[in-house]
Each structure stands twice: as structure tokens, then as C-alpha cells.
């Protein structure tokens, strides 16, 4: 398990200039399942689908807005103060989100709690600002923010779904099983976050390994046939 995780973290974040930046963030370099970034909200906030989606959308908003601004002024920022500038802009976007969430719904605000201000220190937001928005044009940067944000939301929702269904027997508050469901309390508690994340990572690792094995088998079958032909000749 741990091997898998470390291999993702070392292998992943290359800056891909080609390919759609949106799809890239959504799936190919999914922030949670591939890059394993932003673990704090991933583990803490995903105990229900509603919380997971709210957190994901709040992060998406922060990333799109701040990457647009950062990319706009990227040529004016001296290298020495770029991190400070990114943080100032991110912190602004996070404060704005804080107000907006409160204005939309107080219960969601209470559920997300301290994790909204913590978006600013989420390693995902700063990493993309440094690796992408600080170097790429405005539209591409905003698309990258949107893709990464939706990828993050998707991953959080997948975790939230496992945890809510097992931990409370509901999905978005609707009972999936009978009302008499015995909740697996563990999944609502922080360790449940670690366990569900591990299950998803295991699933993706197994899936990747299987498809890689199939690909090599196909190649081997082809070369094997070629070899046989040669031998006959």
C-alpha cells in the first residue's frame, strides 16, 4: 500500500503543456487519487456527500478565481516574492468563499468549520499556482483550476459516498438501505477517512496494474507471433 502511495507522489506532477488542462486535472492527474495532494480536507471533511461536495466546490472556486488573477499578473511578479503574492491572492479568495458559504447556508458553514480557512494552506492550491498558473496564460490557468477543482470534488465525493453509505446508511441524507441499517460508526470518524482513502487507492492501483499487465501481454503476444514467423522463415 505505502509503496503505491509514494510512487504516485514522486511520479506525478509534471507540467503537461499538451492535452486539455481541464481533463488532465479531472482524471489523468487527479489531485487526490494520483497526486495525493490536499489530504487534510480529504480526510477530515468527507464524512458525508454534502460536506464533500461543498468543500470541493469551495476549493474549486478559490482555485479558478485566484489562478485567473495570478496568471494575469504573472509577468509582473518578481521571482523573489512570488510565493507571498500567491498566498495573498489565495487568502483573499478563501476569505471571500468563507463569506459566501455563510451567506448560502449556515449549517454547511458549521459542518465545514475550520476547513474553509485551511484551503489557503492546502498544498494542492499552492502547488498548482506554482506549477501551472504562474507560467501559463489566463484561460488555460483557469481551466486547470476548474479541472483540478472538479477532480478534487469528484474524489471527495467518492470518499464521501463510501463514508456516508457505510457510516450512516444514507446517500445525501436519503436512506439507501432499510431505516434499520446498523451504521459502521468508524466511517464517520477520522480513521474512516484513512480507511476509505486506502480502499480507493488500492482499487485504482489494482486497476492500473491490471491494465498495464494486459497491455504488456498484448505486446508480448504480437512480438511472440512475429518471432514465430521469423523462426519458420
Amino acid at each position: 500500500m505505502s509503496d503505491q502511495v509514494s510512487c504516485h507522489t514522486t511520479g506525478a506532477p509534471e507540467i503537461t503543456a499538451e492535452g486539455s488542462p481541464f481533463l488532465n486535472g479531472l482524471w489523468k492527474q487527479n489531485p487526490v487519487f494520483v497526486m495525493v495532494l490536499g489530504m487534510c480536507p480529504t480526510l477530515a471533511i468527507t464524512n458525508s456527500v454534502r460536506n464533500a461536495v461543498s468543500m470541493g466546490l469551495a476549493t474549486t472556486f478559490v482555485m479558478v478565481v485566484s489562478y485567473g488573477l495570478i496568471s494575469m499578473i504573472r509577468k509582473l511578479i518578481p521571482k523573489q516574492v512570488r510565493i507571498a503574492t500567491y498566498i495573498a491572492i489565495l487568502a483573499m479568495a478563501v476569505t471571500v468563499v468563507d463569506f459566501l458559504v455563510k451567506a448560502v447556508s449556515i449549517p454547511i458553514y458549521l459542518a465545514l468549520g475550520a476547513y474553509i480557512p485551511l484551503i489557503v494552506s492546502n498544498c494542492l492550491t499552492l502547488e498548482r499556482a506554482e506549477a501551472y498558473a504562474g507560467k501559463q496564460p489566463v484561460v488555460k490557468s483557469m481551466l486547470d483550476g476548474l479541472g483540478m477543482g472538479f477532480g478534487f470534488t469528484l474524489a471527495l465525493t467518492m470518499l464521501g459516498a463510501v463514508r456516508e453509505v457505510l457510516g450512516a446508511g444514507t446517500f445525501l441524507g436519503v436512506h439507501v438501505f432499510s431505516k434499520n441499517f446498523e451504521p459502521w460508526v468508524l466511517f464517520l470518524l477520522p480513521p474512516g477517512g484513512f480507511i476509505s482513502l486506502a480502499m480507493w487507492l488500492l482499487f485504482f492501483a489494482a486497476w492500473r496494474e491490471r491494465s498495464a499487465k494486459r497491455a504488456t501481454e498484448r505486446v508480448e503476444a504480437q512480438t511472440g507471433m512475429a518471432g514465430a514467423v521469423e523462426a519458420r522463415a
Partner: protein
Amino acid sequence: MSTLIPPPAAPQPPGWRMVRLLGTVSLICGILIVGTNLATSARIRHNQEIIMRDSVAELLPGIQKQIIYGVQASGDLKILPGLEEGGQRLFAGYDGSGRLIGIVIESNARGYADLISAMYSYSPEKQAITGFKVVDMRETPGLGDRVRSDPDFLKNFDDLDVRIVDGKPVNPVKVVKHGSKKNVWEIDAISGATISSRAVGKLIGTSVQDVLPVVRKNLERIERGE
């Protein structure tokens, strides 16, 4: 990639340029934040008031009008214009004819995981607690969080005797083992969630001791609604 020649150093930009840039960025960010705050503050206040009003209405059915009092350090009451943060607040509820139905009191205590904050309604007529509602908590799901939802536990607060004589409760609120409640001032604990149940007992007990004497002292004033 590992060359021994260091990369050519970027020319050091003048200090004033960096200060100017950071200053401008901060200024713009500041304006945006203040702008959002101004744009959303009315909505946020409205949301908070709705939540508070709903909670109070849940505890005091039939409520038509409410007045919020703040308890001063001197032990006097002051009418609050809105939901000011901090301090002990009392929500007095009146029916259509302006008669006092009951008073909702906020309180909190340390539970198993974190602070449990809750509200309870007090009926001056019956000299008893008539309802209890948890506002926020972090108790263990499935065990401690039953203090919010367990119907048997909540039944304790339908009529919990908290008579005050000479500024002191006659029978201090007491949490007893599940199934052994004998008196109207006792709280029957949830089996398997003793710590959370005791925290609720403490939450009510201390509040009854500290706040109810103030309420009794100022009762006529609250009844008149001034």
C-alpha cells in the same frame, strides 16, 4: 541534468518594485474582501436570525414574538437589538396576546469529544424545564450523539423540576444511571453514553444555578416585555 555550472542568476529587481507589487496586490485583495463582506453581511445576519428563531420556536411552540435579553456582569438584563455575539443570552417568547410562554436559555459544557452547546426552554409558570435542543457538538456518532436525538433521553426535559428558592435551586439537577430515575429533578442517562449524558446534566445544572436566579429576579420585567 546535473551540471556543475550554476544557472545564471536572475537580475535582482529593485526593492521598491517588489514592495509596490505586493502593496498593490494586497490593496486589491483587501478591497475585494471588504466588498464581499459588505455584500453578504445582511444575508449572513438574516441566515443566523432564521436559525436562531427556528430553534427557539421549536422549543417554545406557539411563539409569536421574541425579545432577546443579554445578561450583564452586574446581574441585570439588557434588551439586545439583534444577535450580538458573546455573553449569556436569553430568548423570551410571547404568544399572540403578549403573554410570556417561556424563556430559552443558551448554555454549554465539555462533553466526551468537545464542547456541547445547547439551548433549553424554561417555563416560569411551572418552574420547570420544558425542552432541550443541542445546537452544536462533536460527540461520537451512534453513542454520544444520541443526546441530540434519543427520544427517551429527550423525554427527561419535558418537565424537569428546577424550582428556585432564595436564589438557589431547591433540587440540583442530577444525572442518574439509565432506568433509575425516581424524581422529577433527575435526568435518566443514556446507557452506553454516560459521559455525554453527564455533560448535558452539567450543562443544565450550572446554567440553572447561574442564570435562573437572574431570570427569577427580573421575571416581572420580562413578563412586561421591557
